[in-house]
Amino acid sequence: MRIAGKGLIDRTKPVSFKFDGKAYQGFKGDTVASALLANGVKLVGRSFKYHRPRGVLTAGSEEPNAMIEVIGASNQTPNVRATVQEIFEGLNTRSQNRWPSLRFDVMAVNDMVSPFLSAGFYYKTFMWPRAFWEAIYEPIIRRAAGLGSLSGKHDEGHYEKAFAFCDVLVIGAGPSGLMAALEAARAGADVILCEEDRLLGGRLLADDAHLDGKPAGEWVAAVEAELKALPNVRIMPRTTVTGAYDGGQFSAVERVGLHKGPRPDLPRECFWRITAARTVLAAGALERSIAFPMNDRPGIMLASAVQTYLNKFGVVPGKRVTLFANNDGARAVARQLMAAGVTVAAILDSRTDASAVEDCPVYLGAQVTDTKGRLGLRAITGTHVGGEFALETDLLAVSGGWNPTLHITCHLNGRPRWEASLAAFVPLADAVPNLQAAGACNGVFDTLGCLREGQAAARAALRGLNIAAADAALPTAEGLPYVIAPLWQVAGKGRAWLDFANDVTTKDVKLAAQEGYASVEHMKRYTTQGMAPDQGKNSNVGALAVLADTTGRGIPETGTTTFRPPFIPTSIAAMGAGGRGNGFAPQRFLTSDQASRDRAAPMIEAGLWYRPSYFPKPGETSWLDSCNREIGYVRGAVGVCDVSTLGKIDIQGKDAGRFLDLVYTNTFSTLSVGRVRYGLMLRADGYVLDDGTSARLGQDHYLMTTTTAAAGLVMRHLDFVHQSECADWDVRFISVTESWAQFAVAGPMARALLNGYLDQPLGDFPFMATGAVTVGGVQARLFRISFSGEEGYEIAVPTRYGEALFRDLVARAETMGGGPYGMEALNVLRIEKGLITHAEIDGRATAFDIGAAKMLSAKKDCIGKLAASRPGLIGPERAQMVGLKPLSAEKITSGAHLFIPGADLNRVNSQGHISSVGYSPMFDRDLALGFLVNGRAWHGETVRVVDRLRGIDVLAEVCDPVFHDKDGEKLRA
């Protein structure tokens, strides 16, 4: 029912939306809950366990009952709180956890058998027989479990994440938060003000309070206008701060587009990480219910929610209202209802010493002992000091007192303190460093007190930041004391709910205590109290009080469970924004990328790089055909391959050679200018880190190459060695990987190709030489190195010439019976030559294992040298790198294990594994590199190659890892 003249909705803008297939109308500014209540809809959901009919309980994100599915074109969001979801034209929603309909739900049979479904039912019932668990119990329970449902499709919605920084973060924009933000903003601090609601004002609007003798809305509007005009303030409405983390960091989730129809320009939500030097927590407080018998019927709401619907939405969801409270707060609600022309049947005040003077009947010492009305409240009965009462009523507004919203103060392990005078927990002062709670979340419930606390907290923050405070004057406001007499539960015949969402009753808590789960943490798990989407916001304190009553320990001794992030249910899509599919993962493309794609080369990922796998030609039926042909180019003519992905580090300085001696096992300071040397690098623990070549370009100038995979790793390692061991040496280095495009030109005709292409033909240019050349007038670097075993060169030009050079080289190679080759061919070529990659140096291999022990210079120290000599890292017990040649043409795989023929095939008998395999056209069979215990002593012997996953069991000959051109005659040709 709408009340004329009340509410902050825009009555000139009607909005239609759907709930359970039926169209309803509300106004701009309505939530689904307020609009449904205005339309007389009381039944909005079914409870989790008993499928009890439920209505709206609250007016905020803590709502335990009114959870709905929001159905979009490509997504379906379950468990959306109808009290938060704003309506927009075309919004489509649905109730959940019911079948076939909300009014008639088959599973409500659970409610009939509820005596059997008490706490621990599952633990007790589904214990035996054991074999029943997977086949019978689990499928049944799974079907019954859960609330809302998903679409089963990927969420294609757009989400974002963002970072923000400020001097002062103010969480909540009620009286405390607004005052704090105003004070900090006027002083010139950078302020971020986060408010969960769409409107600033908090309880000022919901309570219809007065400031400076005028409606509080006017003050709120003036403050908002002032804050908006300041350049140092960011106001973030619809933004819930969800967690506090180390170092003044907070997470927050903003509903950017959820309150609008599908908008391609807007993300649905944005997940914020806010870093604040100081924080004022002004999150307010949450009203709690009272556990009286049958207290869960649609039409029973919190008093503060009734007040919010009246003042913010102009809605009163009943015609004859009753209020049941243990504190003064409900009196104002009753007066406002009566002023709006609503009939108040009675105020039921549980206190005997409270005032009985109101414009409606007041029952003192009152307790509600039963309620009637399955799909909507009709009547209540109870007792009071004068006897019994029975009332016809369709809306019961309950207030059991207030709980400060202190959740965030518990996120860094702080436990709240029980304050008996408030019958509530309050936060500890230093629970989160540099955060101060102010106002209702700090246990100060009157408006004037909130304004004062907000201002004081802002001033404390400003002092900490050495910013002089501005003198914002406080508006005049009510400063009524908060008077409460705790009432947690009412005895009676029916069930009394604590946790509405998870259907936990006072009986369940008592049963848990009787059965030995008397610690609060055990009780929680045994009953599932507080484990629903509202995380116990409505019920934890009540449940704790009932447990304390049952055990006779008192609340402070019973303790409390803690609160963890997130404060509200947060969509994983928002937290993972940018992570779907490739997300924001960088892609690195070679200069030859387009040229390779022009040739239809499939790309393979190498770290962040994309490299051509092979270059198919018409008539080839598989990648292997292409690979074999490309191998033929290199072995028989000339092949061209983009090798720019290898890490290139430019190293300069008088101590550059000395530095390389420290990081490489072998010596580089003695390398002649114009020469290249292969080097091996160890980790601090003596295992191989990386390998590659380094060229001496000048007296004090080296160029190091790393493997593609370890380029970043090596850079980090060089930085570490430099800064930790020799920061005072004259050496500097920088990555130049992206600055140079580099191509391998390999094969018996490589020299001929280059001679016809370079501006000057090559003179004497032996294996492992380097020198400057020019190509079409462009300065280039030439290295005579080989990763294939053939005569090979690598030519490097500044990146901008890379594509042109690649196209030229390939075109020339093709006139000579060669062409481009990809990663598949490159891999086979290097296996035939016994050259390693990170498949071999996988972090477990030592220099000794790969047969490079003699590369550890005895004349100097290097990183990892002593560690490499540790017992167990050298010797016949090590798995040593070997070549493996299958005795037949059968396939073998990397990852296969090696066994001595005749030995049992079990883990203990495994003698090693295969690290790399490739089909060699030269040998017409697979060739492999692998690691075999004492392998170098096994050359010529036979081992069994077993891969049980792929059904492979093949005999292979152990041999030297170099299959091709063992003496390097081709290499040095």
């Binding site: 960091q249 601090a684 930085d719 800064q723």
Partner: protein
């Protein structure tokens, strides 16, 4: 978590690479005892309280630093350049 880089100022920890205890800065040379390597590589205190670790500003300036922090309160107490230690 925020880490104060001596060169760049306080930055998000996602910009940093964590290595481990500052013990890694005291590498035994090839003249050392193999037994000392256990201390250098593997044996670590696990203090409830102040701890000194080596971090790398990998997505930043490339500086290695020793960060002092409290493992109980998670408070970051300061940082100093590894290179500075060596030069001092």
């Amino acid at each position: 978590m925020r880490i104060p880089c001596p060169l760049c100022g306080t930055r998000d920890r996602r910009e940093f690479y964590y290595y481990g205890s500052e013990d890694y800065l005291k590498r035994p040379s090839d003249q050392g005892m193999v037994e000392d390597l256990d201390n250098h590589l593997f044996l670590r205190d696990n203090p409830a309280g102040v701890m000194r670790d080596v971090w790398y500003h990998e997505a930043g300036c490339g500086a290695w630093m020793v960060v002092t922090r409290n493992t109980i309160s998670h408070e970051v107490l300061g940082s100093e350049l590894v290179a500075k230690q060596k030069e001092a």
